[in-house]
Symmetry: C2
Subunit: 125 residues, 2 copies
DNA sequence: ACAATAACGGAAAAAAGATTCGGTAGGGAT
DNA sequence: ATCCCTACCGAATCTTTTTTCCGTTATTGT
């Protein structure tokens, strides 16, 4: 696991929340599991743009943070399943709130974002 | 401004939200301005752990994204003020939700986080 | 024996983000 | 004259996160 050089600050609530749902694919992974997509291969099929390695690493970390719980049946075909813990379920409303706000303001942010890159291109100075 | 190499994906609401409130100091800066701390120097005094340069850059970006609006009175002592736009005010409930969830689960996350680093130290393989 | 699938992880590179260092500029106070 | 304050920005560097590449193990189907 990666060893931090700068001590992370978990005093502020926002930072605590970002620790769980921040990152490029975190919320997607949690959302998939909440929708009953429990196996790693299924999650990968659900989010094909995310590299398998990244999903694997996030699953490890979310398990360590007790957001999800792992269940392995050694049988065949080699079955691993992940489920949300109670704690994990408690983030769902937050993810829903972020998703709702984001979707409501998607067009505006996309527009501003596009304007920013155009501005950068048209002002080579 | 920084030029992305990988196209950012603003299709998903969560990513749109993270574009505005993600990042180490974004929410803190927006929160400060919402509390009436309008000048850069004031914001820096409010968040002394954040380097001045970082705050400056975020202010630029938040302005470009129209989350905040800038007002300059050329007079003296060289006064610049930032205010939330209507759009900016619309993120406040989201930041409040993140902060509330984070504060409610702070102790648990801190505990899990500590357990993770200890685990890493005690298992040198 | 050989491919296919599932789960997983090491290592290094790439990308993104944060930080430090230094510099600009205008004016005020001593 | 010299130092301080305010606002600001370029560039290099460091840290963190994401990605790519390539392995391992185990079992099933052909």
């Amino acid at each position: 696991m990666y060893e931090r050089k700068i001590l992370e600050n978990l005093d502020c609530g926002v930072n605590v929340a970002n620790k769980i749902v921040g990152g490029k694919w975190r919320a997607c992974i949690i959302d998939s599991i909440s929708r009953g997509i429990s196996r790693p291969s299924g999650i990968q099929r659900e989010i094909p743009e995310a590299p398998a390695r990244v999903i694997q690493m996030h699953l490890r970390e979310l398990e360590a943070l007790q957001v999800i719980r792992k269940e392995t049946s050694g049988g065949f075909p080699l079955k691993t399943e992940y489920f949300l813990t109670d704690f994990g379920r408690s983030v769902l409303p937050l993810i829903a709130a972020m998703d709702a706000w984001g979707n409501a303001n998607k067009a505006f942010v996309q527009e501003m974002s596009a304007a920013m890159t155009e501005e950068a291109l048209n002002a080579p100075s």
